[in-house]
Amino acid sequence: MKMRRLQVVAVYLATAVVALVALFPLIWLLLTSLKETREAFSMPPHFLFTPTMKWYSRVWIDEGFARYFWNTAVICAGTVLLAVPIAGLAAYALSRYRSMNTYVILVIALGFTMLPEMLIGMPIYLFARMTHLYNTPIVVILALAAQYLPLLVWLLRGFFLEIPIAVEECALVDGCNRWRVFWSIALPMAKPGLITACLLTLIFSYNAFLFPLILTGPGAQPLSVAIAQYGAQDIRYWSVSAAGAVSIAIPLLIAVVVAQRYLIGGITFGAVKE
């Protein structure tokens, strides 16, 4: 019984340590963004201080982060709206059609996720310059959607495979066409999968860096690219960058708090077969 108690204590201790290590840099970032520069970067650190919001107003108003946030929002929304429906259609078809073609397509798509982004990105950059789509959200959306398609197809296909086909077959026998079956039967049943797919796509496109970096200039830059420009400058701007970084992290924090279940489901999906 003493073993039991010791084990419980050890587990709680391990939990606390892991959580602390995981969150420490972020907590430090938050503290830094609320301190005056002198307090923030002097060692030993001040744990008691009067917080100030001035860096946040500097970031959002003076530096115009609102514009970058808008750019990010456009890119994320566009990518989700483009990638998820297309992936859903393809995933449904790949889950219901028995043929060698499906495996060929799936394997090629999977192989694509292994490629470094520069290979795909550079020709898209040329394309963007040639068609004057450089520095627009459209080309970023197209590039990102194409990048996430294979992953989403694999994810959604897994969800569609779980749905029993008996109901669909009844409907088909009764005279429904395949589109009707997809729209009215399969899709509603795959809702958790669709939510997961939308959530993952939102987060991936929110965090995307290389494609937006090479495909946008100052006009259409999303948050990730904008903040990267600040990090490199000297220490006087680090408080501003910290406020910007915390601002960028907040939507992700909200997503984690609100949609944890779906996130963890999406992450563990390809791995663990229940």
């Binding site: 084990q7 050890a10 587990v11 939990t15 892991v18 959580a19 290590v21 995981a22 840099p25 972020l26 430090w28 970067f41 060692m43 030993p44 259609l89 393809a90 449904y92 078809a93 790949l94 219901r96 043929s99 073609n101 694509f112 996720t113 292994m114 470094p116 982004e117 520069m118 290979l119 795909i120 550079m122 020709p123 194409a146 990048q147 398609l149 294979p150 395949r178 997809f182 987060i203 965090n207 860096f209 290389l210 970096l213 948050l223 990730s224 990267a228 220490i235 960058s241 910290a242 960028i248 992290a249 992700l252 924090l253 984690v256 963890i264 992450i267 390809g270 791995a271 663990v272 229940e274």
Partner: protein, 290 residues
């Protein structure tokens, strides 16, 4: 499903995938065989170059330095993440579920934008202003993480372990929960110790999950870019350039598209060279059986 319906459903996917996936890849390979400089293609034109780009890249010591750092990074972070993640997952196995605040805490580093996370992380290690540097100084370790090549390289390893171990923990924890209880109970009844149970039952049963984690992390680690851009810019010198960063520099700083694409193709080949023996070693058991 009728063939006609299948292709109707697949068309948008195939279109997007071919135009913005396969197409760029083919264009990239083609360009790697040409002389194509973005800065002066109007004057010197685009000409066929055979393997000249590949030879130039393979002869460049910067390329090999980038490749060796990338391999170093992959070969240190993946085992570290795996072992640490597995250890933590085992330790936490006593809990029924990872839920609420704790799983949220685990998710945040993994989900956070890489550039943001890298920036925040790197500030902790700055010489005069970083808290971790200060703590290390208190116990007598004085390291300039950013102006020496090896500390800078290890900085990325530490960062990756911090960021990606939660991913491993979450997956392996779910895997541990899905294991059948009978073999473990039978083994403990038969007198097997905890470590015997782990090494002879749990690990073999989780073999496929380990492989999934290793392959996923290996491929992602190979593509390291965002953090390099923000933390060190490939420095000091070019000590922390990864292969993707080197490609980026060739393409967008030196404007040499022929070289950049050659680097990209070579990096894919390298990934295949490394990955295929691993896959073969892992799946030869199954291949033989089939």
């Amino acid at each position: 499903m009728r063939s006609r319906d299948f292709w109707a459903f697949m068309t948008p996917f195939l279109f997007l995938f071919l135009v913005f996936g396969i197409g760029p890849l083919v264009v990239c390979i083609i360009i790697s065989f040409t002389h194509f400089s973005l800065s002066d293609y109007a004057t010197s034109g685009i000409g066929f170059a055979g393997f000249a780009n590949y030879l130039a890249v393979l002869a460049s010591p910067r390329f090999w330095r980038a490749m060796s750092f990338t391999l170093f990074y992959v070969c240190t972070t993946v085992p570290l993440e795996l072992c640490l993640g597995f250890a933590v997952a085992l330790l936490l196995n006593a809990r029924i579920k990872l839920r609420g605040v704790f799983s949220g805490a685990l998710l945040l580093p993994y989900v956070l934008t890489p550039v943001v996370a890298a920036m925040a992380f790197s500030w902790l290690f700055r010489d005069q202003w970083g808290y971790v540097s200060y703590l290390l100084g208190q116990i007598g370790i004085h390291l300039d993480w950013f102006n020496n090549p090896w500390p800078a390289r290890f900085l990325f390893v530490i960062f990756a372990v911090w960021k990606f171990t939660p991913f491993v923990i979450l997956i392996l924890f779910a895997g541990l929960k899905s294991l059948p209880r009978e073999p473990l109970e039978a083994a403990s009844i038969d007198g097997a110790s905890w470590s015997q149970r782990v090494f002879f039952i749990i690990i073999p049963l989780l073999r496929h999950l380990f492989i999934f984690v290793i392959l996923t992390r290996m491929i992602d680690a190979f593509k390291l870019f965002d953090e390099v851009f923000v933390m060190t810019g490939g420095g000091p010198g070019s000590a922390t350039q990864t292969i993707v960063y080197y490609d980026y520099v060739q393409t967008f700083r030196y404007m040499d598209l022929g070289r950049g694409t050659a680097v990209g193709v070579l990096s894919v080949l390298a990934l295949m060279i490394i990955g295929t023996p691993l896959l073969y070693y892992v799946y030869r058991g199954q291949l033989r059986r089939n």
